[in-house]
């Protein structure tokens, strides 16, 4: 089809409907069928901000976005090529992201005066010029669904509920995907409700046949198999990966896990997931508040469990005093912060990277701790393992940053073999001559981990400054200086384990893009695109935000410009300037939305053009 925006290498489709329309299920089943047929995938979901918004209204719209491709992809895509809108509100909420020439498939039965009014359309958009730039496919989905299941003894509303399957059948045909895996899923899911199984299967098949025989569509599309590393894959959201990472860390450390949390968007689903994994030696504790969740984590670490807590920005603020206690008592634990738009309540379901400096510096006193950030949904899994590795080795709390985009976004995860995962087993001190609680390992500077219950090693710890070694209360000025230095040196020592952050591209050139966290996918995609065009641009993505690798400043010297794109007002930019006197150009956005590749490419081009214009290429700036 020459006149469409469909690129068979890479399709971005969005399912939108009322939150009761089953869009998430439809999206996730379609994702499975694309993944099974060999495409790489990346998906984003957006749930309504309100819990029970009235049906048919814009606040009630639920969306599922999937990008599938015949090559490796790292983002959910900047805009949509295919929009499936189950009602006028879904259309209104999503049409602005549909590219000109894109396919709009809508449920024509829902474009009634009543539904149009609920969506606050003054005129029926189908009858105005507004949609002329798209390829429109109106399908009476409700009617077709009712027809398909008319021989079953279903109530009208139960019958109508199957229309997501009808729509799915249409899309499955349109993209030449197999229908069998979905039929199997339905059979498995509704094994105890044969009537529902039959109704959903009939609707699915009816959609498929309708697309095939109605001649509405003149073409089918095929997105070829992507050439990915051989192995087993699954789809995983960042939050699912965090939960799995915690279970894995407990198994790899051979310790029970106590996971404490207080409900907060967008972190809560990790607590939900873990509460279902109790047979993995996992205990979850929903605390009375954020402070309690943090303190229970400290108590569990003191008791010798693997201990973790999860929160978002507002909770991090509340946890900060107790984090100081964790630093002072030098106990191992992981604090996961799934960032959201702030300050105060902000926009809980929207995405930002605005808690970086809070994670690094949001505590009183000199209170350093390692801070690292996950960069892809599946990377959340490995980040948890790394956070625990460092926590245990260095006897320190570690903050792991994720964000709302990673939390609900999903990518294809090449599943690891357990034997390839790191061994996290700690060594507990059980016997010692002349034991003191703050004796230190000469290399890591870590103090020993001693479990209460160990005979002969009874000791007291607490938040008051300790005498180095003995752990006794001390107000001695020199001792305080020494302990402040020791605590910092210990954390700086984590660098000994860390390789120089990888460079995407050459290690010298015009522009070096430095980024962190969830922007990796968009940044790397943008940089790769410009590299194919021949630009002298490279990227370096930081996993650790504290301690910062010294090598960063040396690499930066080999580039004329440093660009730091962030979803905040320049927090890493400030940090690198402060630590390394790095003269970098910030590129910031704080809209609650992730970067698009397009805007990053534009920002990079601008800086590349600056290089051409202002400076002789052979004359380094620094």
């Amino acid at each position: 089809m020459s006149d469409t925006a469909i690129d068979e290498k890479n399709v971005n489709i969005r399912f939108a409907g009322d939150s009761g329309d089953g869009m998430q299920l439809m999206g996730s089943l379609f994702t499975d069928s694309t993944a099974i047929s060999g495409n790489d995938i990346f998906n984003l979901t957006d749930f309504p901000a309100e819990i029970r918004a009235p049906a048919g209204t814009i606040p009630g719209v639920s969306g599922y976005q999937l990008r599938f491709a015949d090559h490796k992809i790292q983002t959910p895509g900047d805009n949509t090529q295919v929009l499936v809108a189950m009602n006028p509100a879904a259309l209104k909420a999503n049409i602005q992201n549909l590219v000109s020439g894109g396919i709009l498939i809508y449920n024509s039965d829902s474009f009634t005066a009543r539904d149009l009014k609920k969506a606050k359309y003054l005129e029926n958009p189908l009858e105005t010029a507004e949609l002329l730039q798209y390829r429109l496919f109106g399908i009476p989905m409700t009617e077709l669904t009712l027809q398909a299941v008319k021989n079953l003894e279903l109530t009208q509303s139960a019958a109508k509920k199957c229309k997501n399957m009808l729509a799915l059948g249409i899309i499955i045909w349109l993209f030449s995907k197999p229908v069998k895996p979905i039929e199997k899923w339905i059979a498995d899911k509704f094994v105890k409700q044969p009537l529902s199984a039959e109704a959903n299967t009939l609707a699915l098949q009816a959609g498929y046949s309708y697309a095939e025989v109605s001649e509405l569509f003149t073409e089918q599309y095929t997105v070829a198999h992507a050439n990915l590393t051989h192995g087993h894959y699954r789809k995983v959201t960042g939050n699912q990966a965090l939960a799995l990472g915690c279970v894995a860390a407990a198994q790899l450390a051979n310790l029970p896990l106590l996971f404490s949390g207080y409900p907060i968007t967008p972190a809560s689903t990790v607590l939900h997931d873990l509460s279902q994994y109790k047979n993995y030696n996992v205990k979850t504790f929903q605390a009375e508040d954020e402070i309690s969740a943090m303190c229970a984590t400290i108590g569990a670490a003191y008791g010798g469990s693997l201990a973790a807590t999860i929160t978002s920005g507002p909770g991090l603020d509340l946890k900060s005093e107790a984090l100081g206690l964790a630093i002072m008592t030098e106990l191992p634990m992981v604090i996961i912060v799934v960032q959201r738009a702030g300050p105060a309540t902000g926009m809980p379901t929207k995405n930002e990277q605005t808690d970086l400096l809070a994670a690094l510096y949001g505590r009183h006193g000199e209170s350093p701790l390692p801070v690292l950030a996950a960069n892809k949904p599946h990377d959340c899994f490995y980040s948890v393992l790394e956070a625990f590795r460092v926590a245990i080795k260095y006897m320190t709390p570690v903050i792991l940053l994720s964000d709302g985009y990673l939390a609900t976004g999903a990518d294809a995860w090449h599943l690891p073999e357990i034997k390839d995962l790191p061994d996290l087993a700690p060594i507990f001190l059980t016997k010692a001559e002349d034991f003191t609680p703050y004796q230190r390992d000469p290399i890591s500077l870590a103090r020993p981990w001693v479990k209460p219950g160990t005979p002969g090693l009874e000791h007291r710890i607490g938040g008051i400054e300790k005498e180095n070694g003995s752990g006794n209360i001390s107000y001695d000025p020199d001792n305080h200086q020494q302990m402040v230095d020791l605590r910092k040196n210990k954390i700086d020592g984590v660098l000994a384990d860390l390789p120089l952050p990888e460079i995407l591209g050459k290690d010298q050139g015009d522009v070096l893009v430095i980024s962190w966290g969830s922007t990796l996918g968009a940044v790397a995609t943008a940089v790769e695109q410009l590299q194919t065009e021949g630009a002298a641009i490279s990227a370096m993505h930081l996993q650790y935000l504290y301690p910062l690798h010294n090598g960063i400043k040396f690499i930066a010297k080999s580039f004329k410009y440093i660009l730091i794109p962030e979803l905040n007002t320049g927090q890493l930019w400030k940090l690198l300037r402060m630590e390394f006197l790095l003269d970098a150009v910030p590129y910031n956005k704080v809209t609650g939305q992730p970067f698009t590749v397009t805007e990053l490419v534009a920002a990079m081009r601008e800086l590349l053009a600056e290089c051409e214009k202002t400076y002789d290429k052979h004359q380094p700036l620094r």
Binding site: A296, G299, H459
Partner: protein
């Protein structure tokens, strides 16, 4: 390593005790060190967890495991510890500011969850460590550094709060009542669930004699009633007064005859209805004797056991979790 018979000395740490001379905390510490050997718990299995305040220095002086945490948070730290290590004997030491002001929320939730831990709340009705501001248990009109014109907020009663939080073991005692204190520590240790003991403690520096009007030898019998399970609520020098209870609550009678004695209410800490204990907790000076001893003691499942049961049930139902199976769950495809 564990000696079969421990002594008071075994529970005394090498740290110099730093309370003001004459402070009521000394007596509490001495009684604790004296009782501990009788509890039969290996000392490595005992952990004292405290918050911030004079009372919270306590763990440093006990030669057990100890954790001096931050202001108000001892119950939360202890909760994590107990969930992680249910077999440990955990003792929380807090004060009126620590436990009823900054940390009141944690205290309430600890009590309602009924973890098997023990709480000792040293109530001296003043902030001592910060040098004398009124506390949430100070009486109205208290003149302190921060309330030169007298405090205007009404005091909270620790025992009433504990009862309202559905605590399963609630008791009260004086720092100077060695026998009473020791018996309560033992009973608390025996109790399966959260034990809460409020200890009226004298701060001789900033709030001296705050309890003298009820604790002094010459008035104690008249101004307090020692609660004993199954015994009538008698008080006074020769047990010549008693508490009777009717629809209007409690009233005091003189007990001169066997008939009078019949009318006196018999204390039952296991009373199914907690409003009885609450009513008791509301008896206050000067109209009533202040109840001391165990107000309420009932059996309820402990939080850590319930949680462990869920873990066990999950293992029984699903088998011991296999990590590879978990990672590979959901739709898995091969490339």
């Amino acid at each position: 390593m564990t000696k079969t018979k421990l002594t008071r000395q075994d529970f005394t740490s090498d740290q110099e005790v730093r309370w003001c001379p004459g402070c009521g905390d000394y007596a509490i510490l001495a009684n604790m060190q004296r009782v501990m050997p009788e509890l039969g718990i290996p000392k490595e299995n005992i952990v004292f967890v405290s918050g911030i305040g004079c009372a919270s220095r306590f763990p440093y002086y006990m030669d057990t495991y100890g954790f001096h945490t931050i202001h108000g948070r001892a119950p939360a730290v202890a909760t994590g510890l107990k969930l992680s290590r249910p077999e440990l004997s955990v003792w929380i030491v807090t004060g009126d500011g620590d436990g009823l002001s900054i940390g009141a929320n944690h205290l309430i939730h600890l009590l309602r969850r009924n973890l098997d831990v023990n709480v000792l709340l040293f109530n001296n009705r003043i902030y001592g460590l910060t040098k004398g501001q009124y506390s949430p248990t100070s009486e109205v009109g208290k003149i302190t550094k921060s309330t030169p014109n007298g405090s205007i907020d009404r005091p909270i009663d620790a025992v009433s709060l504990a009862l309202a939080s559905q605590a399963t073991f609630v008791a009260r005692c004086f720092d100077v009542d060695a026998a009473g204190l020791q018996s309560l520590i033992k009973a608390a240790n025996q109790h399966n669930g959260t034990s809460f003991i409020e200890i009226y403690q004298n701060c001789n520096v900033f709030n001296d004699k705050a309890f003298a009007h009820i604790s002094d030898r010459d008035v104690r019998a008249d101004k307090t009633v020692w609660l004993e399970a199954g015994k009538p609520l008698l008080f006074g020098n020769n047990n010549d007064k008693g508490l009777v209870r009717d629809a209007n609550g409690f009233s005091v009678i003189d007990v001169k005859s066997a008939a009078d004695l019949q009318k006196v209410y018999v204390h039952e800490p296991r009373h199914g209805d907690s409003s009885y204990a609450f009513q008791l907790s509301q008896l206050s000076y000067p109209d009533f004797p202040v109840p001391m001893g165990i107000l309420r003691q009932v059996e309820q499942p402990t939080y850590e056991n319930c949680l462990q049961e869920q873990v066990d049930a999950s293992i029984k139902k699903n088998g011991q979790g296999d990590l590879q199976t978990l990672l590979n769950s959901g739709t898995v495809w091969e490339m």
